[in-house]
């Protein structure tokens, strides 16, 4: 653990929920910041690395995302453990911005996110990841590939249509259907 608090009943930082840690960060608690970094840096880095395929650039995105949290923790909301999901999407979007070499296009405060999972809980997160991977593996190859090209490679539907030779409508439907299948699997 990072420090001795001297208070017997104070829960360890690593077990505190995201909202408590964010509140501590708001008060300038560096240990709370380190704790959230340890909890979510892996997913933020992995997503950035998948998009950018460059460890140095992915590390820059990692720093950028968490420094933003340190500077403006109020912009991050942690309801029902959705902070992890939020960070994953922010990491993807920042990485795509880096790919396109442009300034960040969104403000985290603008992004609402519905999450049915407590991603702060490592066991629950692992379970969700395994299940999601299983669903994605079962998608038809074209659907899986199209979703991947849109989300991880940041290609627009027009660019995907041009590359694959598929009609625009088909590309849009594949992206939407892939996500729908994922949602159905989790709400079934």
């Amino acid at each position: 653990m990072y420090r001795e608090t001297g208070i017997v009943n104070t829960p360890a930082l690593s077990t505190q929920d995201d909202a408590s840690l964010l509140a501590m960060i708001q008060r300038g608690d560096e240990y709370a910041m380190a704790s959230l970094f340890d909890r979510y840096s892996k997913v933020v880095y992995s997503v950035a690395l998948r998009v950018l395929r460059d460890p140095a650039a992915a590390e820059d995105v990692l720093q950028e995302v968490f420094m933003q949290m340190w500077r403006s923790p109020g912009g991050f909301v942690a309801t029902r453990g959705s902070l992890g999901g939020w960070l994953a999407v922010v990491s993807r979007n920042r990485s795509i911005d880096t790919l396109r070499r442009k300034r960040p296009t969104e403000c985290v405060e603008d992004m609402a996110l519905a999450s049915n999972y407590n991603l702060a809980n490592e066991a629950e997160r692992e379970l969700m990841v395994e299940r999601a991977r299983g669903v994605i593996d079962q998608l038809p190859m074209e659907q899986r590939k199209t979703l991947e090209m849109a989300f991880f490679d940041g290609l627009t539907h027009s660019e995907i249509a041009e590359m694959t030779g598929d009609p625009l409508g088909t590309v849009k439907t594949r992206i939407r259907s892939g996500l729908s299948t994922l949602r159905k699997a989790f709400t079934a």
């Binding site: 008060r27 300038g28 560096e30 910041m33 380190a34 970094f37 340890d38 840096s41 892996k42 997913v43 880095y45 992995s46 997503v47 690395l49 998948r50 460890p55 140095a56 992915a58 590390e59 990692l62 720093q63 968490f66 420094m67 340190w70 500077r71 959705s82 992890g84 999901g85 939020w86 994953a88 999407v89 990491s91 993807r92 979007n93 795509i96 969104e106 992004m111 609402a112 519905a114 999450s115 049915n116 991603l119 997160r125 969700m128 990841v129 999601a132 991977r133 994605i136 849109a150 989300f151 940041g154 627009t156 539907h157 849009k172 992206i175 939407r176 996500l179 994922l182 949602r183 989790f186």
Partner: protein, 281 residues
């Protein structure tokens, strides 16, 4: 927009992924801000994307990334505002029609009252000198950080190259050709590269015959000090007779007298089963 006056889900998904042209994105943003239904659906889509993002192959960031981040956090320490009690306002009195206080209205200043203002100036001067020192230190630290960043970038590049080399060596689809003297029948051969101090071993074999289904080849490190052979991994060749073992877990510092290969049951063995079919010293 669909017939019910809401945004089509296809477009909401593309909007959430920031894949729409600026004009289309602006239209959807304007609609979503005033439409609770579409806002809710957008949140659901973002939730779906969050789940999908988690399907990526997880890789821990380098330990140096954590150090770098925490240093940056320490450098940008937050100043927490303290709610100070409001200073009591001086009573607004009117003396003989005057709207403000004069020097005469104020209590007489004693010794402390005369000296304290000078103490304030002295403190200010001291703080200015300290701030100057801090500035110098900060400049020096920035230089040091820039240097470290360069080193990290170099190390990252080296690591990427090493990964590339490893990926090429272990890629099952790679074309592997063993050149021998012309008109010589291919014979099984293997190469072990071993660094005893680090306990690192790379083993590659070519032209290996296929084994029965329940059998595997096992590589052995035969120590120079005469102790028992150490198992260094099992392998089965691919269709072209190629196999490799990359950095099996081995104790560090064991000098090798030779390396040998035996045939064992699937799962490997802790002691070699004779005969040793390949050996090299």
């Amino acid at each position: 927009m669909n017939t019910t006056g809401h945004i089509e889900r296809d477009d909401l998904v593309l909007f959430a992924m920031q894949l729409l042209p600026k004009e289309d994105a602006a239209t959807i943003r304007a609609h979503v801000e005033s439409c609770p239904e579409c806002l809710h659906e957008l949140a659901e889509v973002q939730g779906d994307l969050a789940v999908y993002a988690h399907t990526v192959e997880m890789q821990a960031p380098p330990a140096s990334a954590r150090e770098r981040f925490l240093k940056q956090v320490a450098q940008e320490k937050k100043v927490i505002p303290i709610n100070t009690a409001a200073e009591p306002e001086l009573p607004v009195r009117s003396f003989d029609g005057r709207s403000s206080l004069t020097e005469e209205d104020l209590p007489q200043r004693g010794f402390a009252g005369k000296v304290l203002p000078w103490v304030g100036w002295a403190l200010a001067a001291g703080m200015a000198v300290t701030a100057g020192n801090f500035y110098m230190q900060r400049t020096a630290l920035q230089g040091s950080i820039a240097e470290q960043k360069d080193q990290i970038a170099q190390l990252t590049t080296d690591a990427a190259t090493a990964r590339e080399v490893m990926a090429t060596i272990t890629d099952p689809s790679a074309l592997r050709v063993t050149l021998t003297k012309a008109q010589t029948a291919p014979v099984p051969q293997a190469r072990a590269t071993y660094v005893a101090d680090k306990g690192v071993l790379i083993f590659q074999a070519n032209n290996m015959p296929t084994l029965e289904p329940a059998k595997v080849y096992e590589l052995w490190l035969i120590p120079a000090n005469g102790s028992s052979p150490i198992p260094a991994g099992t392998f089965q060749p691919d269709q072209r007779g190629y196999a490799s073992i990359m950095m099996p877990p081995l104790p560090k510092g064991v000098q090798a007298k030779a390396f040998g290969v035996t045939i064992e049951n699937v799962g490997g063995s802790q002691t070699p089963t004779l005969p040793i079919i390949m050996v090299g010293a």
